[in-house]
Symmetry: C2
Subunit: 215 residues, 2 copies
Amino acid sequence: MRRASQSVDMKRDQSTEEKIKAAAKKVFMTKGFDGCSVRDIAKEVGSNVALLNYYFRSKEKLFELIFEGAMSDFLQSMIAVFSSDLTLKEKVEQLIDKEFSFFLEHPELPMFILQSLHQNKTDAPMPSHFLEPIANTGIFEQFEKAKAQGEVRDISIRNVTLLLMSNVHYPFMSKKLTMQFHGITAKDFDEDLKKHKEIVKELITNYLFISNTKA
Amino acid sequence: MRRASQSVDMKRDQSTEEKIKAAAKKVFMTKGFDGCSVRDIAKEVGSNVALLNYYFRSKEKLFELIFEGAMSDFLQSMIAVFSSDLTLKEKVEQLIDKEFSFFLEHPELPMFILQSLHQNKTDAPMPSHFLEPIANTGIFEQFEKAKAQGEVRDISIRNVTLLLMSNVHYPFMSKKLTMQFHGITAKDFDEDLKKHKEIVKELITNYLFISNTKA
DNA sequence: CCAAAATTTAAACAATTGTTTAATTTTTTC
DNA sequence: GAAAAAATTAAACAATTGTTTAAATTTTGG
């Protein structure tokens, strides 16, 4: 009688399963795994608790699904930029722009990802199907080449990543802290965000790329 | 018969109350408010659950106490630097150094603060006794003065703060993500951290401070 | 040393947790 | 349109949650 969301019967009503996923995403993202009950999610769906287990077996399984999707989104926005055929500098600038507009649409994502990992809500290491697409864009080679040619400062790709992530993820995680810290409104903060993006773009490109217009 | 940790009887055994606070801090910091039960904390203390309520009335009250302490620590490390009589540039450099060594000792702090605020685990706005000491150091005036004198780029203090916090807090929050992302060990990451600190120091001071040795 | 106060404990509380069962309703299939 | 399958529900489950009660123990003060 029971099924467990096999892809055999894709023809069957998809909307319930999708509705649950959407509700779970919303609730998990805002309250975290520990911060919500399956009944919270069921209420958001507008139906019974047992239905969640009918489709997804357990709260944990449902969470893992949502988390994987979130992680996918999280990394997706990078890939598009990297796989274009721009110069490295253009890619960095575009990455910052794209990441900012992406996180403006999904402001809870960085906090959700980082805190889920922090509290080991997911045990599995990041699956290679997340990372390979990035590596496959050839961005790492492009970077090493630019470094060898003296276009780019001698800095490891890992440190570049940390630099970019810090300045792109953190602002969206720190909204409440920053608002309280400066006693400003959400509107004020959003203005600061815009400015921050421009600052970061100039800051990082200036630092990374060695200008050959020296005089 | 009951008391609620009034400061009247400070003479009385302080060690139990302190032991509970220490255990609560440890557990809350690693698992979050929702991620632990009061029995987890009691087990960490090595005693009964009822004792927590005896001293702190409720899980929430205990949490608020721990959170306030954490927030205090969180901001404290800034104040020491700001109230010294260094130049602005020296203060920024010192701040980055001090924050990094502080968070090396308390790596969970940024995540704990940000995620507690994010999920509204504390309703009260940041008390002024946290912020006033910072304002009282005169750091804001020093900054505006340096800006007026052309020593510092035209940028708002709020954006400077966001820039600094991004680069100082985020790395400690992103350890798991970064390790998975690059497939590196904790040791590798700690090396990256050191390097990141130096990069950020150069990056930010270069950007903020206008060099007058122009030729 | 002894009563009073403070501390600590074990046990129970009602509510909530994730999950399962079994019955019911809806949809599909022939 | 009737039998079979799938979807949905209500109800119950045992376990865990935060909190309270009342009894037991320890510490204090005269």
